[in-house]
């Protein structure tokens, strides 16, 4: 049946709504004007300024450290969780699954508050470490869900065949299951990395004095005077996200 033209028009309007604001930001990041809403010629000045901003560079480094470490930890914990849930049913599994969904479901602000309270109570000074812990907690359930979905779709007979051929359960897992899971795992890790890199609220509550991340820095810039540099920084971040989602989509397809 034919799709009606007004539906197509409405969809086009939706996509315009989603993309026009981002496109405008990117275009105006090349604007020479400091007042930023009037076009006054092409310039790369704001990009050049970004790369000399020392605070911005150290915030970027912090973001990359937190995202990398928390992604590795979330990956390990998430894969363990997915395998255990699918292959090793245990007592209290139902309760555990509810708890596992909670970090995804509850409002970020609540997660931030809970983490802050916890770290203050156990007297752990807020730092990169506390942020890494918090990011690992909100990321590993995401990894677990994605990997588990992939694991469910695998044919269990492949593992059976491996063990019929004399493989121990561990060897069967390592040589058969894990390679088949790999696209799912890589996709999940990219997702976790992006979520960590983009997180503002939970980082805001768990960051210490010297551990400002990129989103916290961006937030500070937005709260004070909005300069054209923010546009340039935004354009770079948009480009990075697009690259990550393209890689993730490409990996998942395999």
């Amino acid at each position: 049946m034919k799709t009606r033209s007004w539906l197509v028009a409405a969809s086009f309007a939706d996509l315009l709504f989603l993309y026009l604001p981002i496109a405008i930001l990117v275009v105006f990041s090349f604007n020479a004007s400091k007042l930023s809403a009037r076009w006054q010629g092409f310039s790369l000045e704001w990009y050049a300024k970004l790369f000399t901003d020392q605070a911005l560079l150290s915030a970027t480094v912090n973001s990359l450290i937190v995202a990398t470490v928390s992604t590795v930890l979330a990956g390990a914990l998430g894969v363990l969780t997915a395998v255990a849930l699918e292959r090793q049913p245990f007592r209290w599994q139902g309760a555990f699954e509810v708890l596992l969904l909670m970090p995804i479901v509850i409002p970020e602000i609540m997660m931030g508050v809970a983490m802050l309270l916890f770290f203050v109570m156990i007297k752990l000074p807020l730092s990169l470490l506390t942020m890494i812990i918090a990011h690992t907690i909100f990321n590993f359930p995401v990894v677990a869900l994605i990997v588990r979905a992939r694991l469910r779709k695998l044919d269990p007979r492949l593992e059976e065949a491996a063990s019929d051929l004399g493989a121990t359960p561990w060897v069967a897992f390592k040589r058969v299951t894990l390679p088949l899971l790999m696209p799912g795992i890589v996709g999940a890790l990219l997702m976790a990395f992006t979520l960590s890199l983009d997180d503002f609220i939970i980082s805001f509550f768990t960051a210490g004095v010297g551990s400002t991340t990129l989103p916290i820095k961006v937030y500070g810039m937005l709260k004070s005077a909005v300069t054209p540099e923010v546009n340039a920084l935004s354009a770079i971040l948009v480009l990075v996200s697009m690259g990550l989602v393209a890689v993730a989509t490409w990996v998942q397809r395999k």
């Binding site: 555990f96 983009d198 937005l222």
Partner: protein, 282 residues
Amino acid sequence: MSPIQLGGGRWLIVPPAATLILFFGVPLALVLAVSFATRGTYGGIEWAFTLGNYTSIADPLYLRIFWRSLWLAVLTTIICLVMGFPLAYVIARAPQRWQGILLFLVIIPFWTNFLVRTYAWMFILRSEGLLSTVLSALGLTHEPLPLLFTDTAVLIGLVYGYLPFMVLPLYAALERLDPSLIEAAWDLYARPLQVFTRVVLPLSKPGVIAGCVLVFIPSLGAYVTPDLLGGARSMMIGNLIQHQYLVVRDWPFGSALSFVLMAGVLAAVLYYLRAGGERGLL
């Protein structure tokens, strides 16, 4: 369940379970405990049991903030549903090759930094921003428009932020809808509206519910959007909690507020599970 069990596999769950309980279960329990404690003189916590933090939420000042949050979240959900449905439908009916591209286009904003996407609207709506500049250049307005720092700006930001959450589950439901059922309805002389309300909508109900829950939850607990796009009077629950925690330093009251917010969110999740959406939230 697979017949194959890993050797010593029963211990696999221990590291994740221990991590989750220690670093998530305990913090949540602490928030609950603190919500019944008393605020100390200098902003600390005194362990004297009270229900006062919950009863003071009934103050009209705070009730108004809860009411506004609920209202904005419901409105955001409805607008996303109305806007998202045609797009999800068109993607589901598009040729296979186009489906991939269109889905990709819906997913990209979801991966793009939320602060950046919110900033895009600040840039457009500011009084010396793009929209004002364009409108005054066209001679339509003569003074800067008060667009930013309003409830409307918050609403635009929320819809913009969460529209992809609506489109994806709707698409998943519509894609499974058998087109011959729609054709049958046409053959039986159904009017377009009837085809929609009697065939398409009932069959895509799981997607509608999933999409609404996925949009409603983050909208209700929104912090960044009202903080950046809303004015001093556009506070939502999330901002109130942040204010109590980091500005006023009344942690017991902030904790009680968080728990009430969480109760609202869990109610939405329970409704979703009851309605038969057991396919997981992602």
